[in-house]
């Protein structure tokens, strides 16, 4: 197992290198002259040239990449064009907010999705199954910014139960977490249901029943652990969607996290900040998928690394 983790970890290194290469290229992939765009369209040539110099855009590409990588390894993501502060300092106070929001939403998605999926599968074709799956259909069809707005209207304005914006108190957390977690919960519920239905018809479930086990043990011990294998993969992918979802949800609920910083930076054409955020999101995504692979291996002993 330890060997598996180490080897899997080593495999992420080329992925991370690829990510840095992409993030680095970002600035050159945007149409037009990045220095001109960042300095503003009406900026005089001298200002643009100064910007170009400041960003090191006059050097050959490989020199630029080398410089980018070496400062990256020292934890330096460059300087914000807008505030002239290091990008790290811009991101640092906000990163934990976004990570918390994402983790709480993920936990909500997993718990809600698993419970609804298993219940649906066990009561398949029943009224409860139909209701839950209809709710799931709504859940993932609804864009989360829309759900967020509706929740603000209903819960915060009409019912005046919870604050409509901000982050800090637990009351402020509820609506963003629900908004962000709903889509994932719906997908996990549907995935769990179909996976569970598949597993319930397997021969080893009949063996478990023939052993005289309680139906509850048959379903949760013998069924669920097998059914989780494909669900875990979905959870990994879901985490990526969740991270991108934070951008919208933080904007709707005025949460001062990385997502909102990303929007502000894009608006201000503050490319070093955008690059930094994209890189960090990508690293989180790679890290989550590493965790997913490890738990996948824990669930399914047949996985071997070649």
């Amino acid at each position: 197992m330890l060997q598996f983790i180490v080897r899997r970890f080593i495999q992420t290194i080329p992925v991370i290198l690829g990510v840095t290469l992409l993030v680095f290229s970002l600035i050159h992939l945007i149409p037009g002259d990045p220095a001109q765009i960042m300095a503003g369209e009406a900026a005089p040539e001298a200002t643009v040239e100064a910007m170009r110099e400041r960003l090191g855009l006059n050097d050959p590409l490989h020199v630029q990449y080398g410089r980018y990588m070496s400062s990256l390894l020292q934890g330096d993501l460059g300087q914000s064009v807008r505030t002239s502060r290091p990008v790290m300092d811009e991101i640092q106070p906000r990163i934990m907010i976004t990570i918390r929001l994402a983790i709480y939403s993920m936990i909500l998605s997993i718990i809600l999705g698993l419970v609804a999926g298993v219940v649906s599968a066990v009561r398949r074709y029943g009224l409860l199954d139909a209701t839950l799956m209809l709710a799931a259909l709504f859940g993932f069809s609804m864009p989360n910014f829309w759900l967020g707005l509706m929740l603000i209207k209903l819960v915060s304005i009409d019912l005046a139960l919870l604050p409509p914006s901000g982050w800090g108190t637990w009351q402020q957390g509820i609506l963003p977490i629900i908004t962000l977690g709903t889509g994932g919960a719906a997908i996990i519920a549907r995935m769990t249901r179909s996976s569970m239905l598949d597993v319930i018809n397997q021969d080893y479930i009949r063996t478990a029943r023939a052993k005289g086990l309680k139906e509850r043990v048959v379903i949760y011990k013998h069924g669920l652990k097998n059914a989780l294998i494909p669900v875990v993969t979905v959870v990994g992918i879901e985490m990526g969607m969740l991270l991108s979802g934070t951008v919208l949800v933080e904007t709707v609920f005025a949460v001062n996290g990385m997502g909102r910083l990303a929007i502000d930076a894009i608006r201000a054409r503050d490319f070093p900040v955008v690059q930094g955020i994209v890189l960090i999101f990508a690293l989180i995504f790679v890290g989550v998928n590493l965790l997913v692979d490890i738990s996948y291996r824990y669930l399914n002993k047949r996985i071997e690394l070649n």
Binding site: D203, A208, G212, K225
Partner: protein, 336 residues
């Protein structure tokens, strides 16, 4: 019927599947008994209802299957009147079952030891450590090499034959009185088949249990069974002691089955087949179900299904030939 007291008696068992197109009577009035300490073979073609009957005994049928009538007496107590909880205490404890597919019948995500010891923990309230100890003994009993190592392995690390041994170990963990083996060797290589049958026979003597072997292989019946019940389209058509049955089958279907076997002591150009096809379960023929394929069939056969009639002490046949009113010959061709 049999001179030995039966451990299990099935009386007029009816099991149906309720599908959109109607009711499929998979088991339609099966009556048989399993003598204590002996082996009963249930033979029949695919789809004749033998597996459904086996699952009915432990009430392991899944939707849309349902037992609609009859009695299943285990030590003279009707299992069909037991609650689900009472049935759970019987499953894997008094009556155990092994299945056709050893490759898929074990749970892939738990170790062998975990899966066997579960039986002890559920039925005998054993602690984890004791249960593992007992599981180890069971693995040794079913002849698995280096059982200490196997205990901590997962099913995918074992071959098909080994997995079926594990299934047997699991089924026999609580020393059941009756083992229902549903085609236990069909998915295995011929050499492994023989080993598994040998093992079942051996353990039967050691543990004093009764066995039902469900199979379509007459060779297995000849080797392992004391009594045989022949099934056709959800009915038992003939039941007899194995020796007698092989000596002289009475039902035209049984005779047809035997006649169709290839034999190494006779020169045959062609294998003798039973004419026609097994009817679809939704369109059962009127009268005797075998009548459309039977070369002896008369008018009465096509009108009315005969009852299972006891011929002498140990034999019963469901055929009009053996009724008093039968005009034609009572000899069924058999070149055995």
């Amino acid at each position: 019927m049999s001179s030995v007291e039966p451990i299990l008696q099935i009386k007029d068992l009816r099991t149906s599947f309720f599908i959109d197109r109607g009711e499929v009577k998979a088991v339609d009035g099966v009556t048989l008994d399993v003598p204590k300490g002996k082996t009963l073979g249930v033979v029949g073609e695919s789809g004749c209802g033998k597996s459904v009957m086996a699952l009915s005994i432990l009430q392991l049928l899944e939707e849309p299957g349902k037992i609609v009538g009859g009695e299943i007496l285990f030590n003279n107590v009707n299992l069909l009147q037991k609650s689900e909880k009472e049935m759970r205490d019987i499953r894997g404890n008094n009556i155990s079952m092994i299945f056709q597919e050893p490759m898929t019948s074990l749970n892939p995500v738990y170790t062998i030891g975990e899966q066997i010891s579960e039986s002890y923990r559920v039925h005998q309230n054993m602690g984890k450590k004791d249960a593992y100890q007992k599981s180890l003994e069971m693995l040794r009993l079913v002849g698995i090499p280096s059982p200490e190592k196997r205990l901590h392995q997962y099913p995918y690390e074992l071959s098909g034959g080994m997995r079926q041994r594990v299934m047997i170990a699991m089924a026999l963990a609580c020393r059941p009185d009756l083992l229902v083996a549903d085609e236990p060797t069909t998915a295995l290589d011929v050499t492994i088949q023989a080993q598994i049958l040998e093992l079942i026979k051996d353990l039967q003597t050691k543990l004093h249990m009764s066995v039902i072997i469900i199979t379509h292989d007459l060779g297995i019946v000849a080797e392992t069974c004391d009594r045989v019940a022949v099934m056709y389209c959800g009915n038992i058509v003939e039941q007899a002691d194995a020796e007698e049955l092989f000596e002289r089958p009475r039902h035209p279907y049984t005779a047809g089955l035997f006649n169709s076997l290839p034999r190494h002591d006779q020169e045959k150009e062609e294998l003798e087949a039973i004419l026609g096809y097994v009817p679809s379960p939704i369109e059962m023929p009127q009268g005797c179900r075998f009548s459309p394929r039977c070369s002896y069939a008369e008018e009465i056969c096509r009108q009315q299904n005969p009852d299972l009639k006891t011929l002498d002490n140990t034999r019963a046949v469901r055929c009009w030939i053996y009724s008093d009113g039968w005009k034609g010959s009572k000899e069924v061709a058999y070149h055995g």
